[in-house]
C-alpha cells in the first residue's frame, strides 16, 4: 500500500523562480529565505518519495474565468509549465502518475467531493516554484506528481473547513492505493499577502506565525475562519492558507514538526516553510 511520508508547506511566489534562475541564493535579500530549504532537501534525500501531490491555485495559465473549477485534479502523464506573460522561464515538464490520479479521483468523488478531472493540464508557478524549491536541480524531476488546483482566485472560494475535510479524504485515498509507493504532500502559497488595492503590501506577521503554530497541533482551530476573515487578517491572497490545510488534513491526527522557517518579505509576502512527518 502507499505510504504518506510527510507534508511540506511552502511559498510559491513567482519571484522565487526568477531568483533560482538568477542563482541569487546568497544574495542578502534572498539568503534568509533559501537558507530555510537545505534541511528539507536532506529529508527528501533520506526519505526519497516517489510521488508529490502538490496543492496550489492556478493564476491564469491553465484556467480562465470562462470555466473555474473549485477543485481540479490532474490525471495526465505529463504536466507542462509555460509562459505566464511576465518573464518567468518555463521549467521542464513534470511526469505524472495517472493511476494514482484516477484512484484519488474515484475515492474523493465517493467521499462526496465532486471534482473536475484534467487529462491535459498546464501547471503554473503555483506548482512549478515549490517543485523547484524542493528539487532544485530542475533538469530532471526525481518524483512523479499529481497536481490539485483549488480556486482561490474567484470568490466564492471553498472554506478552510471544507478544504481541511478534502485533505482528510485525500489522505485516506492515498493510503488505500495498492502500490507500494511513498507519497509526500505539498501545500503551497501564502502566507499573508495582498497584491491589489490601496491595502496592497499588507502582511500580518502575528497571524502568519499563529497559523504556522496551530497547523501543527491544532489545525481544526484554523478551520473556524471564514474566507472573509482570512482576507481581512491575511490579505486578499491570504486564503491560500487552504492549500496548507489540505496538506495537513491528509496527514494523521498527530504530526511532528521537523523543520520550519518564516521570512518577511519575499516579494509582497510573508514566506513560510514547514516540514511535517506523521507521528508514529
Amino acid at each position: 500500500m502507499a505510504t504518506i511520508v510527510g507534508g511540506i508547506a511552502t511559498s510559491h511566489i513567482p519571484a522565487i523562480g526568477a531568483a533560482i534562475t538568477g542563482r541569487l541564493h546568497q544574495d542578502p535579500y534572498w539568503k534568509p529565505f533559501f537558507d530555510g530549504y537545505p534541511p528539507v532537501h536532506a529529508w527528501l534525500d533520506r526519505v526519497r518519495p516517489d510521488v508529490a501531490i502538490v496543492i496550489y491555485n492556478d493564476h491564469g495559465l491553465n484556467f480562465f474565468l470562462d470555466k473555474m473549477p473549485t477543485f481540479a485534479v490532474g490525471a495526465a502523464s505529463t504536466y507542462e509549465n509555460a509562459d505566464e506573460g511576465w518573464g518567468l522561464k518555463p521549467v521542464p515538464p513534470f511526469p505524472g502518475h495517472p493511476a494514482l490520479s484516477w484512484h484519488i479521483i474515484e475515492a474523493l468523488v465517493a467521499s462526496e467531493f465532486d471534482l473536475t478531472t484534467c487529462q491535459e493540464m498546464q501547471v503554473d508557478h503555483g506548482f512549478a516554484v515549490p517543485m523547484s524549491l524542493l528539487w532544485p536541480d530542475r533538469t530532471e524531476w526525481p518524483v512523479r506528481s499529481v497536481p490539485i488546483a483549488v480556486n482561490t482566485v474567484q470568490h466564492p472560494l471553498p472554506s478552510p473547513s471544507r478544504c481541511y475535510k478534502f485533505g482528510k479524504a485525500l489522505g485516506k485515498a492515498i493510503e488505500a492505493f495498492p502500490e507500494n509507493i511513498k507519497v509526500v504532500l505539498v501545500g503551497t502559497g501564502g502566507l499573508s499577502h495582498q497584491l491589489e488595492g490601496r491595502r496592497a503590501g499588507f502582511i500580518n506577521k502575528q497571524f502568519d506565525l499563529m497559523c504556522m503554530d496551530k497547523i501543527v497541533d491544532d489545525p481544526a482551530a484554523l478551520t473556524r475562519y471564514s474566507i472573509r476573515e482570512l482576507v481581512e487578517l491575511a490579505g486578499s491572497q491570504g486564503p491560500e492558507l487552504v492549500h496548507w490545510l489540505m496538506m495537513r488534513g491528509a496527514l494523521t491526527g498527530h504530526v511532528k514538526r521537523l523543520h520550519s522557517n518564516y521570512h518577511i518579505p519575499i516579494s509582497n509576502t510573508g514566506a513560510g516553510l514547514l516540514l511535517l512527518e506523521n507521528a508514529a
Binding site: 506573460g85 491589489e196 488595492g197 496592497a200
Partner: protein, 118 residues
C-alpha cells in the same frame, strides 16, 4: 468567528473578486489572459486600440488600460492575476504595482514590506 455567508462589511482598501466583478471585468480579464502568449503581447503593443476592440473592452476598461492605472483597472473589474500579465508587458513587478496603488515610490513600498518584520 462568523459563518461564510452574509457579512457585507467592506475591508478597507480591498476589493473582493466575486461573481459581480468577474462579470464586470470579463472582457478585460480575457484580454489580459491572452498575454500568456508572446505573440499576443506583441500584437497588443503594435496596435493597442485594435487589440482592445478585438476583446470588446468598454470605455471604462479602455481608459484604465490607456492610463496603465491599476486601481482603475480593478474598479473596471480586473483581477490582479490577469492584470499582472498586462503589467508584465511593461516590465512591472508586483512591487511596482503595489507602489502605484498605494501612492508610494517603489523604494517606499519595499520599505513598508520590510517594516512588516517588526
Amino acid at each position: 468567528m462568523s459563518s461564510e455567508s452574509a457579512d457585507p462589511k467592506e475591508i478597507w482598501g480591498t476589493s473582493i473578486f466575486d461573481g459581480r466583478q468577474a462579470m464586470k471585468g470579463y472582457a478585460l480579464n480575457k484580454m489580459c489572459y491572452s498575454f500568456n502568449s508572446a505573440q499576443n503581447r506583441e500584437e497588443f503593443q503594435r496596435d493597442e486600440d485594435a487589440y482592445c476592440r478585438k476583446f470588446g473592452l468598454n470605455a471604462q476598461q479602455r481608459s484604465a488600460v490607456r492610463n496603465r492605472n491599476v486601481l482603475e483597472l480593478i474598479e473596471a473589474g480586473g483581477n490582479i492575476y490577469y492584470l499582472a500579465k498586462f503589467a508584465g508587458i511593461f516590465g512591472l513587478t508586483v512591487q511596482d504595482v503595489g507602489a502605484q496603488q498605494t501612492g508610494m515610490s517603489v523604494q517606499e513600498f519595499k520599505a513598508k514590506l520590510v517594516a512588516a518584520r517588526e
